[in-house]
Amino acid sequence: MRPVGYVAKYVLGLADDALITAQRLGEWCSRAPEMEEDIALANIALDQLGVARMLLSYAGELQGQGRTEDDLAYLRSEHEFRNVRLVELDNGDFAVTMAKLLFLSVYQRLLYDRSIGVGDERIAAVAAKARKESAYHVDHSSRWVVRLGDGTDESHSRMQAAVDHMWPYTHQLFAMDPDVRALDVAGVVIDPSTLRAAWLETIDAVLAEATLTRPASVDEPTGGRSVHTEALATLLADMQVLHRAHPGVHW
């Protein structure tokens, strides 16, 4: 028997990583350091939102309870979200935002690249589309990390602080969710631990060019994708308030 419920959980994980990233990047809208950056972050957010919408719709179909993408985005509570904690953390300064985006987008690009070949045509089709957009996100965040890291004393120290601060949260990207690991979902689910070597290679190259040091942290994450920081609660309050106050609202 194909464990549909677990595939739905896996798809929700991919969807929520993209959705929460979109929401955080959207917070920069009208506040970015320069106009071009404002547009860039909004565009990247839009790419992530597009992927999230397609995957949320699919997860809703897999669950078979008639839940739409909007139901899943606006009517779930904190513990039902399956994003990694890295993406829900506050934006911090611009260096923190770029560190988060670099760590996530390199992971997403590797994951989407591999997902093109999976035995689920919906996941494969979303991945085939998203990987090309992902390459732009990697490029954009890498350039900023290099520019800030190899910049002034001030920008260097803030970029290093951002990398140090975010680093422990990257481990969860490569942890196979215990909820998903349990069943035979080979051929559909990518084991993220198999992406880690390639991820490190790319990240190390960017950090080296940026004259930054890779932190030595070995903290391993505890808890699966349903465990969150308090940052997610405030993010969801902001993201869901309109829909919850005015159910079914359209504009």
Partner: protein, 149 residues
Amino acid sequence: MTLFDVVAAVKDPELRVLNLAELGILRDVAVDGDAVTVTITPTYSGCPAMDMIRADIESALHDAGVADVTVRTVLDPPWSTDMISDEGRSKLAAAGIAPPGRVLLQISMRCPRCGSPATEQLSRFGSTACKSLWRCTSCLEPFDAVKAI
């Protein structure tokens, strides 16, 4: 004028000089009795114009006397700027928007106004998801360019 032509002639809401066929996002127009099913593909995953494109297709077909219209979205194969037709590329250039290069062949961006290859990229992300922002260092005019993807 066939129903395919009716749908093909619908303009893209963001690149107004292109129609859906020239942009390469129209996959199929299937007629089954009185029902017409149109299949399109998005340029970018998050392209915000998709809702408007669907509405425009429906209204174009309604104007052509078709009441029963379904617009379907498919992802596979993913859209690429290589799917923009040659005519579409000429129209983009004529409108001051640099057409994309071929995806696997990175060449310098030419200014769509004066044709100079001396250009610089101001931002990888432009006014819409599909464009980047450039400036010509010969005529000094800024211009949009469709990103190769």
